[in-house]
């Protein structure tokens, strides 16, 4: 568990955070300039708080009261940066070993081979970083941070420099770190879709303060959080199973719970479990099963709640997983949507984004 109670003032910005992260993966969400990176710098020891206390699993890393300020190298807090920051003069293997070689035998929680395998780096170990692609570089950076056996891994938008295809390829590796290696993570991102593929636990920062903390779907509809979430387009993420893959039909069929969905073509084998993304404003609500409509995807569910912010409304529908649907105020009135009612969610196949594999 990470407990934070820190203050730090800058010329034009003040950070004042008091929060405890109990879950294996907590995402830190917020607009740029909200203090996300500053927060990670304070935890890692790269920056000093003006006052406060930082403790990780009972070990005090910083305490202005007791005069404790462990230097970064003694905190055992890993850091994966937005740019991979690989050491250009070292090979991939030497990069991986950089932190590992500082550890004594019993501090090493993983072996080099194990991480090379997990991050799929075996063909790259003798190369220099300059010859690697963006995705490969970020995997090396992840492996390097993990091999230093951190008690907490800080990730500062590690995927933001990558395009969507590469992001989807890296996310499964992040899940490996979470589930197989059991390293707690604090994951900074401004992408809701990215966060939801890793965790539901979110800390929302705004102007250097914690705006909300908890389960994403509990806090996302709060009036002050919603605009932040929506600023980048709210995207629902659902785990599904591929049941048919007809490349000639130009589409692919997947199963979500017991409901079938048509999605854009994907090159995954039948039986593979994948994530799909559906943006909240790509969903249409409907009371009765449509007739004479081109839309093929119909998910049936129960309305969990209706919230309002900035003239827009989010309707939460339980379709086996909570789905956020963006509608206009007028639509809610006209349809007379009420909590507990049955409703149909229509989704155009082409608007669905194919995400990464579920491990």
């Amino acid at each position: 568990m990470l407990t934070l109670k820190v203050r730090r003032s800058f010329q034009d910005f003040k950070l004042d955070i008091d929060v405890a992260c109990r879950y294996p993966v907590t995402a830190v969400f917020g607009a740029s300039g909200s203090g996300k990176t500053t927060l990670l710098n304070l935890i890692s020891g790269l920056m000093r708080p003006d006052e406060g206390e930082i403790a990780l699993d009972g070990q005090v890393l910083f305490s202005s009261l007791n005069g404790v300020d462990l230097p970064p190298e003694r905190r055992r807090v890993g850091f994966v940066f937005q740019d991979d920051l690989l050491f250009p003069h070292l090979t991939v293997m030497q990069n991986l070993r950089y932190g590992y070689d500082f550890l004594s035998g019993d501090e090493k929680r993983f072996t080099i081979d194990q991480i090379v395998d997990l991050m799929a780096l075996s063909g790259l170990v003798d190369r220099h970083p300059e010859g690697l692609s963006g995705g490969e570089r970020q995997r090396v950076a992840l492996g390097r941070a993990i091999l230093a056996s951190p008690n907490l891994l800080l990730m500062d938008e590690p995927l933001s420099a990558l395009d969507q295809v590469l992001k989807d390829r890296i996310i499964p590796y992040l899940r490996h770190i979470r589930t197989e290696l059991n390293i707690p993570m604090l994951y900074v991102s401004h992408s809701v879709a990215e966060i939801l593929e890793l965790t539901g636990q979110v800390i929302v920062l705004k102007e250097g303060r914690v705006l909300a903390h908890g389960d994403f779907f509990e806090i996302a509809h709060k009036p002050d959080v919603l605009p932040l979430v929506e600023a980048h387009g709210f995207e629902n993420v659902l785990p599904v199973e591929v049941i048919a893959n007809q490349s000639d039909a130009g589409s692919c069929r997947v199963l979500f719970k017991d409901q079938e969905l048509l999605v854009p073509p994907c090159s995954r084998p039948v039986g593979q479990r994948i994530f799909i993304g559906i943006r909240a404003n790509d969903i249409i609500l409907c009371r009765t099963r449509p007739d004479g409509l081109s839309i093929r995807n119909v998910l049936q569910g129960r309305i969990l709640g209706v919230t309002r912010a900035d003239g827009k409304q989010l309707v939460y529908v339980d379709v086996g997983k909570r789905l956020a649907v963006e509608v206009t105020v007028e639509a809610v009135k006209e349809l007379d949507l009420k909590t507990g009612e049955q409703i149909l969610c229509l989704v155009k196949a082409q608007s669905i984004r194919i995400g990464p594999d579920v491990e």
């Binding site: 890692s44 020891g45 790269l46 230097p71 970064p72 190298e73 905190r75 055992r76 807090v77 890993g78 850091f79 940066f81 740019d83 920051l85 050491f87 250009p88 003069h89 950089y98 932190g99 500082f102 550890l103 390097r144 941070a145 230093a148």
Partner: protein, 227 residues
């Protein structure tokens, strides 16, 4: 093949000795100062910067005279060094080392500073989060990446030392076998009616050493850049 006399050989060896010691003595302070100027900011940094670069613009004779003031046998520091450390600097080959080190310092400092500035400071921060202490992070990352620039600085300082004349002759005089380096020897032989052959040989030697230093520096730098 040029055949040097014993005296001339002595001059050559002394010059090389002074040059090597000059580089060895300058490197640690130039590295520290290079880091300070590249990575820190504080009040009075400009003043420090100017002070470090002063020998570059001062006439070497002035530098030599100032050294004489500070380190002569009668000065406080000179007396202290002699009485407590048994270290004699004025009119000694060690003084010649000091003179060329001071005059060459700005050249070495400038190269090292620029080289350190060109290394992404975040790399060192990454090293810290991986468990490296500040000193180790500096040497394994920043200094290692700055090495080509450090080498260039070292070479410039070495070359400057081989050419040092004004500060040396003012500070430690022109004593055969003690402070008479190549330029001083050439100057001395020039003033002798029968010295022309010796001057010619020493000039050839000077050209050869300087050229060898440049070429080997270039080769090393290229090899380092490739790795």
């Amino acid at each position: 093949m040029i055949k040097l006399t014993n005296d001339e050989l002595q001059v050559l060896l002394l010059s090389l000795k002074v040059g090597l010691f000059c580089v060895a003595v300058s490197l640690p302070p130039a590295t520290i100062m290079g880091w300070v100027l590249a990575r820190t900011s504080f009040r009075g940094k400009l003043l420090l910067d100017g002070l470090c670069h002063l020998p570059l613009v001062l006439p070497p004779v002035v530098t030599g005279y100032l050294l004489l003031l500070v380190f002569s046998r009668r000065s406080v520091l000179g007396a202290f060094l002699r009485d407590n450390l048994g270290l004699q600097i004025a009119f000694d080959w060690k003084g010649a080392v000091l003179a060329s080190a001071v005059v060459g310092f700005p050249l070495m400092l400038r190269s090292i500073r620029l080289a350190i500035e060109s290394v992404d400071p975040r790399l060192e921060r990454a090293a810290r989060t991986l468990g490296a202490g500040p000193i180790r992070a500096f040497f394994t990352i920043t200094f290692r990446l700055a090495l080509p620039g450090v080498l260039v600085g070292t070479l410039l300082s070495f070359a400057r030392s081989l050419g040092e004349f004004g500060a040396t002759i003012t500070f430690v005089s022109n004593i055969a076998g003690e402070t008479r380096t190549l330029p001083l020897a050439i100057y001395t032989f020039l003033n002798r009616p029968d010295g022309e052959d010796a001057v010619f040989r020493l000039v050839i030697v000077s050209v050869l050493i300087s050229f060898a230093a440049l070429v080997s520096g270039e080769v090393l730098t290229r090899r380092m850049r490739r790795n």
